[in-house]
């Protein structure tokens, strides 16, 4: 179980390969890996977005993310789980968040990955400020419900 906040761009696939190397002992019992990557779009609420600054609450953010992973481990039969989240200045196409869940069976992996992502979206103290193409800045007001289709 690991939570990482990073100030620099990260490659989720490299992170995953490195992390899975640490799971070698339990690898034979892993049947399902459910992953989610959130990436910065260049368009939001009808406007072109040039970049974004992600503020967080050092200490509380990690504490809340740890709690979410523990919650997930308590609800489903998981082997391991991981959250990586960017902060600071972010540009379109860059990964913002990676959630990874490893388990024996796919139902648990799917449910837990989505649960972690929704809990992160509603409880982990991060705040996005968008920089629009016209140089205007705006705070993102609220996260949408991820259990709804678009």
């Amino acid at each position: 179980m690991a939570v990482t906040i990073c100030t620099n761009p990260f490659n989720p696939y490299e992170v995953l390969q490195a992390y899975e190397a640490s799971l070698l002992q339990s690898l034979g019992s892993i049947g399902a890996t459910s992953l989610f990557i959130g990436t910065m779009r260049d368009f939001n609420e009808g406007d072109h977005v040039k970049g974004m600054t992600l503020e967080y609450y050092p200490g509380m953010t990690e504490k809340q993310l740890d709690k979410i992973l523990i919650d997930a481990q308590n609800q489903w039969a998981l082997i391991d789980s991981l959250v990586v989240h960017r902060v600071g200045d972010i540009f379109p196409k860059e990964p913002i968040v990676l959630v990874a869940v490893w388990s024996s069976h796919r139902g648990d992996a799917f449910d837990a990955c989505r649960f972690i992502m929704e809990a992160l979206k509603s409880k982990a103290p991060f705040w996005k400020k968008e920089l629009l193409v016209n140089q205007q800045e705006r705070w993102v007001a609220k996260n949408s419900d991820g259990y709804q289709s678009s």
Partner: protein
């Protein structure tokens, strides 16, 4: 007794400060903390509160050396 008050994101910008230090005596709720540090501002809608990095309600009591944080709905991920 002394508590540290922190503000984040758009709330920090609208208040114009990122921190306050509040010295007080006697029992105090989170709401009292808000009123004493921001006497000219009503309790804002949709602002979340944490004490020592855990979410709490506005009627939660604070104690010496607590860190109280006010911030808008979170928008990570």
């Amino acid at each position: 007794m002394s508590i540290k008050v922190r503000y984040f994101a758009s709330l920090k910008e609208s208040i114009g400060r990122s921190e306050d230090e509040l010295i007080f005596t006697g029992p105090l709720t989170v709401y009292d903390v808000w009123q004493q540090t921001n006497p000219d501002k009503d309790r804002p809608n949709q602002v979340l509160v944490a004490v020592n990095m855990d979410y709490v309600d506005w009627d939660n009591l604070v104690k010496d050396e607590d860190e109280v944080a006010f911030f808008p709905p979170v928008t990570g991920g």
